[in-house]
């Protein structure tokens, strides 16, 4: 009997797996789901999500969508919290370097495919780009109704009263809609969609966006999409219109006063500073202003 060790001894990781890790049959299955998703903007298409070599919750949905979209001459950028150098972004980027051998970049403008967790880049995207979102809970109605059997019905019947009641109750209790991220949107005047946990600051970037936006939820086995130049409207009321939200500060490094900022606690007295969450945006502004990109201590 041949043992596993004999079989696996002379195989390296790179020889053992297909381009971009997934086998071609799986990619075909995902691409079918993607096509359906593009055809029905904002509709959650079930797909047979595979176990990936990273845990659920780490971006398995996004990774599968990216793997199904990649071609050898793609240039991939991966961000988490807006930054290219957060540990999980580093890990996913190196996964695609290793399994697909594609070029990678930190520059938004150089990327043909950007996989993201929790942010949309500040630099406007173009028709030549795909933005892949990692999605934890794809169902915008989930926290109002835990049963999938019910929420699917509500979407089918466009029965969104529950969501409007929730937003209304927020206003009567807090004077504001008390959702600051994963703020629900309506796509193409039909489906209510979860934009993934991006800050609501980013919501307007989804509307009329020239890039193709794809959403992958691995654990929940759902894919959905916003085709280029689609109408994406954040839910609101006429007398309580949607508004963006950011810290009313400027970036301590590049001076931007219109970017989304990370707040940092810098001393024991709770002293704070604010810097751009989008590291590439911040670095490009520093370059334009002629100073060296901040060499950041670790």
């Amino acid at each position: 009997m041949t043992t596993h060790s004999e079989i696996h001894d002379d195989l390296s990781f790179e020889d053992s797996y297909n381009f971009a890790y997934l086998d071609e049959q799986t990619k075909r299955m995902i691409r079918r789901a993607l096509l359906k998703a593009v055809a029905i903007p904002g509709y959650q298409v079930p797909f047979a999500s595979r176990e990936m070599p990273m845990p659920y919750g780490w971006g398995t949905g996004g990774v599968q969508v990216t793997a199904a979209c990649l071609v050898p001459d793609d240039c991939v950028k991966v961000i988490d919290q807006g930054a290219d150098d957060t540990t999980n972004a580093v890990s996913i980027r190196s996964f695609f370097e290793r399994t697909a051998g594609v070029a990678t970049t930190e520059k938004t403008t150089d990327a043909s495919l950007i996989q993201t967790r929790h942010r949309i880049p500040e630099t406007p995207l173009t028709e030549d780009q795909i933005l892949v979102y990692q999605v934890p809970i794809p169902e915008p109605l989930r926290f109002l109704e835990p049963r999938e059997t019910e929420t699917r019905k509500m979407h089918a019947l466009t029965e969104y009263g529950l969501m409007h009641v929730k937003l209304y109750e927020d206003i009567s209790q807090h004077g504001h809609i008390a959702t600051s991220y994963a703020y629900p949107v309506k796509v193409d005047d039909r489906y209510i969609m979860d934009p993934s946990p991006i800050p609501k600051f980013d919501n307007p970037k989804m509307d009329d966006c020239p890039a193709l936006q794809l959403f992958g939820a691995g654990r929940e086995q759902r894919i959905y999409a916003i085709p280029p130049y689609s109408k994406v409207k954040s839910l609101d009321f006429d007398d309580y219109p949607f508004s963006q939200l950011r810290a009313p500060e400027t970036c301590a490094i590049c001076g931007a006063d219109d970017s989304y900022l990370d707040e940092m606690i810098i001393d024991d007295d709770g002293g704070r500073m604010f810097v751009c969450s989008d590291t590439d945006f911040c670095a490009s502004r520093q370059n334009e202003q002629g100073f060296e990109p901040a060499e950041v201590a670790s």
Binding site: H4, E51, S91, L245, A247
Partner: protein
Amino acid sequence: MYVAVKGGEKAISNAHQWLAEERRGDPDLPDTSVAQIREQLSLSVARVMAEGSLYDPELAALAIKQSRGDLIEAIFLIRAYRTTLPRFGYSKPVDTEAMRCKRRVSATFKDIPGGQVLGSTFDYTHRLLDFKLMAEGDVPKAEAGTPTDGPMPHILSLLNKDGLIQDEISSDAEPGDLTREPLSYPADRAVRLQALARGDEGFLLGLGYSTQRGYARNHAFVGELRIGFVTVEMSIPELGFSIEIGEIEISECETVNQFQGSKSEPPQFTRGYGLVFGQQERKAISIALVDRALRWRELGEDDLGAAAQNEEFVLSHCDNIQATGFVEHIKLPHYVDFQSELELIRQIRRDALMLEAGE
């Protein structure tokens, strides 16, 4: 002064090296071989095979070694490997009546055709630490018996002859495969049982236990529990007949449960069913309890609102790889969302304080 997250790449690589070192433990002690794990931690191996949905004791043992004995991590390694394997098809139904039983007990009948076989069980051991095991040493060989010949009929099939127990509907339909099709609700019973067989032992144990304590109680007896080896056959279309492709060890449990009867049907026993890879009787019994609870609709019982009756609740939370991923992912950075929440809270508080001041 801006201290941030640069250096992720280096941190990851250092963490991996440290992990490898800790996995090995004290280098002065001999390394544990995969074969040792396979032979001496065989019940861990069984669990990893079952929840990893891959019958391969050698790879399961390797996964246990690599994961430092964290079985959920080992199951994850096996799942991630399994998913890369091509799917050739599905086997013919396994004939558990023809099982070479190493253990077979019934709690409902004292004497049964084929006999009760106690087998290698912890059941009647006294749970006293055996300090002799701290020293290395060989165990004396157990006395060998004579294997029972011939098929061992399922106990519940004997009850069935009198119509005392409900018939199960047999079907030649192609079974679903939840590793290839997304789960949708309601799921059929075969897919449900598949999900439970892959489900977390602890979660199912707790759910099964809850049915015994009154949350959708259904009065279960273990009609039969059998553990042993069965052959797996596949039809090969090119050959026009089926061939044996191997032998696997499984645990199978059938429970006998009460059924009140309805307007159209006189009272009759019903069953719960659990089947799982390897010697895993705790899991097989738990699956049978949960399976029976999930059948309330089909049997015309009331929805008592119990967790074990709620198919969507059970199936969408029993997978420990999904669960551990999502539970643990909240340790990943969420700076951006938290920042947004901070600003919102500040805004709401500002408004509230202004309102108060104005009043």
